[in-house]
């Protein structure tokens, strides 16, 4: 199981455009994508924009993105970059 721990840099947090971009990318991946907060909230389905929004990740907060299977490392790198983008 691969994991990426990322600090969300966007001013709006993981909402609005960053959340939509994240989910659009996650939906293209064949495997399941999980997103959790280190405090134990989640994990939620990374392909569900409503679940991501309900997780309510604010700017400066950290999330753990995880996935497993073929190609998961590449997917995780891309998703981590989206979540970390300002």
């Amino acid at each position: 199981m691969g994991e990426r721990k990322v600090t969300v840099a966007a001013e709006v947090g993981l909402h609005a455009r960053p959340a939509a971009t994240f989910v659009q990318r996650a939906k293209q991946a064949p495997m399941e994508i999980a997103v959790a907060k280190p405090n134990g909230e989640g994990p939620v389905n990374g392909k569900s924009i409503l679940a991501i929004m309900a997780l309510d990740v604010r700017q400066g907060e950290t999330v753990v993105i995880s996935a497993e299977g073929e190609g998961s490392e590449e997917v995780l790198d891309e998703l981590a970059a989206i979540a970390a983008a300002p």
Partner: protein, 555 residues
């Protein structure tokens, strides 16, 4: 039939009503279906996919900000969480429309509970849910006539971005909604389109389809099937109002001839044409961020000089006030790396960033000095203390710049304007940031937007204090925030002793007319009355009561 709501976009519009009914009835609790579960699921999935596709297609056609909003909504319509919930409800015997209703309601409640930004998204979910249920019931998806014979009055419970993204003035004569407020999608869109609008109008959706409706976006009155003579009167009055506003020409001044120069806020050289067309007397706020944003390297000296020269040439002999770079952690520049901050509004922005990157300030002031002529003013944003002011003004003086000022955006600067003016040649009040910092209310946050009201008496006090000190030391005090664009507030600012006003070019005509209709004494009385009130609403009402000609001008 007459209805009344809140006017949020001025003017009179009339035409046949077009009642947009996105409000579909709630599918009854316990509703079951007749056929197979798999078929019912298939029906639900088809409806979800169709609505997602519609939203996405509208986004593609609309482009820009609307495209982003609609594409995010398309993702919500096909959300896997909703899909799973709908399927399991149908497995338990619930009919598709009810299953869709319950699945979206579950998420809406989660989001609504969070308040603020998430709470606003909850309303978006209601709209998506209703669209899906409408498809399941075989109701037509709301679609507006694209090329009507005559522009219609669009009536709705509330309007979603999906409804409004593609509208134009050729289609819509006015908006009326039963819900919504001054910051709703409808109000913002209507003002941007220049179309009259009334929101929060009870009974609006009871207006029959296709009847003639007249909407007064100033008073908030909505008249159904008005007498023809009445329409002619109202339209005549509206155009008389426009004529009265545009009759005020020339430099800004009060009725008794006190000059109050009216300048334009300009965000790039492309805005200069609009400023000239609106007869601005100069540029009161030339934002320079356009030179720096989306760049990997700082702008070249030649590029900077060209941009500053363009403004000076547009207003020969007039004043052009250039604000130095106002950037920070919320709008990071690739070549000015600053660490992420938990509160960018309170961090290293404006002049503070120049402390870290003095070479960027030097380059900007050098370019300004190279083109400087008498009318050029230069000012720094985010000045908090006398030391800040002294540091910036010294840098301007060293280069021989003719006039160096500071912005008053931080309460500390307003309280100590005297010490800042010991160094600076002038001050300019930025009311938006001054509100944000005075009320500890984030400008970006809808939940605290009520505190961003320039009529708040505390804000009026700070402006008054600054203007009084400036008058005492004989230096100019300007206002260049949104507040100056409101004709009522503009009179009050003049009454408080503010010497010049700067605003978006589109607001200049109404402000010019408002000032020209009142004497300086009336403005002072109105300002005094406003400051004597305990609340923003009372302050506004008190000011209006002392500015009688505003009603005649329809302002």
């Amino acid at each position: 039939m007459n209805l009344r709501g809140v006017g949020v976009s001025p003017g009179v519009g009339h035409g046949p009503s077009y009642v947009l009914s996105v409000s579909v009835p709630e599918p009854p609790e316990g509703a079951a279906y007749a056929g197979e579960a798999e078929q019912e699921k298939e029906r639900a999935m088809t409806a979800l996919t169709r609505v997602a596709g519609e939203l996405e297609a509208r986004g593609n056609r609309a482009g820009g900000e609307a495209e982003e909003i609609l594409k995010a909504q398309a993702l919500m319509a096909e959300d896997p969480g909703v899909v799973v919930k709908v399927r399991s409800l149908i497995d338990r015997g619930v009919a598709a429309p009810r299953a869709v209703f319950e699945a979206f309601t579950k998420y809406r409640d989660v989001l609504a509970g969070s308040g603020g930004y998430l709470g606003e998204r909850a309303a978006d979910l209601n709209d998506i849910r209703d669209r899906v249920i409408a498809v399941l019931y075989g109701q037509a998806m709301p679609a507006l006539p694209a090329k009507p014979e005559e522009p219609y009055v669009l009536v709705a419970r509330d309007l979603a971005p999906a409804d409004t993204a593609l509208l134009s003035r050729a289609q819509v004569a006015a908006f009326v909604t039963e819900e919504g407020g001054p910051t709703s999608h409808t109000a913002i869109l209507a003002r941007a389109m220049g179309v009259p609008a009334v929101v929060a109008c009870p009974g609006a959706t009871g207006i029959p389809h296709g009847v003639r409706v007249m909407v007064d976006g100033t008073s908030g009155e909505v008249e159904v099937e008005p007498a023809e003579a009445h329409v002619a009167d109202a339209v005549g009055a509206a155009s008389a109002r426009r004529a009265a506003i545009s009759a005020a020409r020339g430099p800004g001044r009060t009725a008794d001839g006190q000059p109050v120069p009216l300048y334009a806020n300009v965000g790039s050289p492309a805005d200069l044409d609009a400023a000239l067309a609106a007869e601005a007397e100069g540029v009161g706020l030339y934002r320079t961020e356009f030179l720096y944003l989306d760049r990997t390297r700082p702008p070249s000296p030649e590029e900077q000089r060209r941009a500053y020269r363009q403004a000076l040439e547009a207003f020969p002999g007039g004043k052009v006030c250039v604000r130095t770079l106002d950037s920070g952690a919320d709008k990071p520049l690739a070549f000015l790396p600053v660490p992420a901050e938990p509160n960018p509004a309170l961090g290293e922005r404006g002049l503070r960033l120049f402390r870290r990157f003095p070479e960027v300030m030097a380059a900007q002031l050098d370019a300004l000095a190279a083109v400087a002529e008498e009318g050029l003013r230069v000012m720094a944003p985010m000045v908090a203390t006398a030391e800040d002011a002294a540091w910036f003004v010294r840098a301007c003086r060293d280069r021989g710049l003719p006039s160096a000022g500071v912005m008053i955006e931080i309460p500390a600067a307003a309280l100590r304007a005297r010490d800042l003016l010991a160094h600076a040649d002038f001050v300019s009040v930025g009311t938006n940031d001054l509100s944000q910092y005075t009320f500890a209310a984030d400008r970006q946050l809808g939940a605290v937007s009520a505190l961003q009201d320039p009529w708040q008496p505390a804000l009026l006090d700070l402006v008054a204090m600054t203007a009084e000190v400036a008058a005492r030391v004989g230096k100019p005090c300007a206002v260049c925030g949104e507040a100056a664009a409101d004709p009522v507030m503009a009179c009050v600012l003049a009454g408080l002793g503010v010497g010049s006003l700067s605003m978006a070019p589109s607001s200049l005509a109404a402000v010019r007319a408002g000032l020209a209709a009142h004497s300086l004494d009336q403005c002072r009385t109105a300002a005094h009355a406003a400051r004597a009130q305990p609340t923003a609403a009372d302050a506004r009402a008190a000011a209006r009561a002392h500015l009688p000609a505003l009603v005649r001008l329809g302002l």
